[in-house]
Amino acid sequence: MIAEVLHGVRRTRPGKPEAGWGDWLETWHIDLWLLLLLLAVIAVGIFVQYSASGHSVDAIWSQVQRVGLGLVVMVVIAQAPPDAYRAAAPWLYFLTLGLLGLVMLLGDQAKGAQRWLDLGIIRFQPSELMKLAMPMTVAAFLHHRRLPPSLLTILIALIVIGIPALLVMEQPDLGTALLIIAAGGFALFFSGLQWRWIFGALAGIAALAPVLWERLHDYQRNRILTLLNPESDPLGTGYHIAQSKIAIGSGGLFGKGWLNGTQAHLDFLPEAHTDFIFAVFTEEMGLFGFLLLLMLYLAVVGRCLWIALRAQDTFQRLLAGSLALVFFIYVFINIGMVIGLLPVVGVPLPLVSYGGTSAVSLLASFGMLMSIHTHRKLLAN
């Protein structure tokens, strides 16, 4: 049915002024396919939130407000044409870099890390903004360069990526730093970065691993060690992972049923409504629930890649491709961490975990994708 609707939208696109909500969506630069998929993920998130928060309507209401704000931001962003974003990218980049510098100097401490900036009216994390600014900037930069990129282009791009990544890493927020690097790196990847550089970089990271290990904080090293042997200390650092595996495993094929997860409701599961909400979901919904959610996420990613393929210039392509992959990486890192494949890093499950900043910045990136998809020029350059 959705496909029919979509088909209809596409057919009506070439200028037939027919009164209908397909028209209305086009006027507002909204991609229906993407919107419906996102709403589906958000709906799943709200149901899980209700269970994870212990049937708290307040928590749901608060989540609905945050997501609503995110959707508004998404629609607003979708109104401007991609060229505007390309022009704004360097300014946004340097602004965000400045904010990151401010955080270093006078940011708020929360949970031992300096991430927040209090602007009087709102507190927010400039690193979240950088997740958006980074792919835009790299894509905008590469837009003007001959591709595949030359060595100089690559080096400049690496500097552009490296400076904010280092600042965020110092906060310390390794997870976000890696996501920022990924966002820029994916843009570079889509620009046709030569394989020799890719493999060379991977080999370099592998060679430097011991040095990087030394640079890690103790708790970060612990998380990696715990990943390798989670049962070694089930009440200490391995507790989160052990409990989330118990939650997921006890869910089985069909799950214990919505609101019936014992691990979450009896407080065995830590961070149940934020980073570990995937465990709550799969405990109650089982393997089939997981497959459904994964399908939804993959459909979102697929739609984003589709938008990237149909994009009309290099900036749009690279930005859309990078945003699509970053979104997937979000999903992969969060799920991988909850099921014990990856170390515990503070990455929420996109649009499902409780939390405002991440939902708003994610939806903003989808706004950009919609902008790319809906502001089409008759003559592609």
């Binding site: 495993g249 006890s250 869910g251 691990q263 393997l287 392509r317 992969f332 991988g336």
Partner: protein, 651 residues
Amino acid sequence: MWIATRKRRRPALKNVQDEKNAFLRRAAIATLFIVVCSLVLVARMIKLQVVEHEQLSTRADENRMRVVPVAPVRGLIYDRNGAVLAQNKPAFVLEVTPELNPDLDALLARLDDIVELTEADIARFKERVRKTPRYRGVPLRSNLSMEEVARYEVNRHDFRGVEVSAGLTRNYPLGASAAHVIGYVGGITEDELAKAADDRQYQGLSQIGKIGVERSQEDPLRGASGAKIIEANAYGRPLRELDYQRGYPGRNLLLSIDAKVQLVAEQALGDLNGAIVALDPRNGEIIALVSKPGYEPHLFVEGIDNKTYKALLADPKRPLFNRALQGMYPPGSTIKPAMAIAGLEYGVVDPSHTEYCSGGMSLPGSSRRYRCHKRNGHGAMNMLLGVMKSCDVYFYQLGLSLGVDRIHASMTGFGLGHATGIDLPLEKNGLYPSREWKQRARKENWYPGETLNIAIGQGYTLTTPMQLAQMTARIAMRGGGYEPHVLRATEDAITKVRTLIAPKTLAPIELKDNRNWQTVIEAMEETTHSPGGTAYRIGKDAPYRIGSKTGTAQVASMRQDEKEARSLEETPPHLRDHALFIAFAPVDDPQIAIAVLAEHAGHGGAAASPIARQVMDQYLLGEVRYTPVTAATAPEAVPTADETLEPDPEE
């Protein structure tokens, strides 16, 4: 940097189609990457949710489910007529879990406003805290009043790890009178848990039988713990009950003790310290078992504090000492009937054999004089008179003829010098000396004079009142006998189905000539019923026939140069002789055999036999008809001729 890039804009435009194609290839690779990563996630999820599902489900259940044991109700203890000897009474107990209260002193100070706490309560509590695992609740106060419970309930939110539990507490209606038989329960110590065959048996229980029947029958009394399976959250707070497994109450015990006889026996001893054991010779059932002084068992049930406990231990009267089973005394003349049987059996005497008693005798080649208790001598003594008047010289001669080996064999045959095997804890063996024993223990040879001493139950000989009662029963049964026991039957608390405990038959004492039993039993009967018999005072008006023997156990030996024994009044109490008495009745159809020991009470006939008579009256007649003649009870009663005719220093 940025300006430099603008200059190069033009060449970048050239390869639009190439760039598009390159992007397409990269998008395909990205898609592949996404698919591979997704498959990794799916594979891992299948491993967790399908392969390891069962194992992880179990762990989830283990996480949330707590098994809370439910203590079984301890079995009741009844006497032979159905009177309750031990029961469970409802009581509110204030319990504190030390693990949840790191600062116990502060807690106790706060609790003092809610419930009344004595110093003894606090001292006892602190002591038990040290001995109990930290996660277990430790009783602080028992028997809370309803007001105290109400005050606690109002303030309970201030007291974490403090609970008022409506539990059952053990209660002993006879109190101190039967404490030495019934025993008591008390808090389980870590030691006891470690020693228990299966410490899961004690899940939910806080008390264990410490002594007496409560200890020896701990297993049937305890019952089986039930269990509540509750769901708890990560902090251990119970949320709801998922399952309830019923336990099973402990079995009720039906003892052979007769509570009325027990009380009469306890009262008959009066202020004297001592022991009484009465049993049914026809089956070995203990009718009464008294050790005085007794102690209040409830002190221990509630948990005794150190001060009180030390005071009990230090009491010179030794109230915690079970004289009936642990007390070892020389049996004195009470072994003379058994000695007489041994003499007849080995053929060293016949009933008409006569010895002349001149008040004492000496062994050839020795100047040491072995006295008879009657200074001026009994004159010519045959077996009947020897037993009846308890002539020492007759039995010195008999002992000499038998020799130490045959005496040892015969007396141990009657059960002296080793535990009877009664189903109560802590029974002592005592000692019946022999050549081998002396060689082993003292590294010395046996001297002939010692044979004389053991022939009248003195010297090294040590027996318990329990053994004397058993010896009496075996004479009464003409060699037959049963292992003494207090447990007659156990009863299922729910179905009320009873399991009888069959008495254990002992190998009979076989004599070459069974008429010898008759000879000695007649002599014991004459002791009670013939004027001049040492127990005539209780036999002369008895409505049933009694076979008996008096005895006196020396505490301080008499010096060789003393001509006359000191009178009872002249002797300091702690040096006075122990009074002993054994008896059975009725002679033709023995239903009760009894041994009485009264410490430092003087002569057996005067001090111990009236006690035995009262006990036998109560058991055989259902009431006490005999009133002992004492200065206090009968100031006006003029002593009868018979009474005054009693041989004065009886033995």
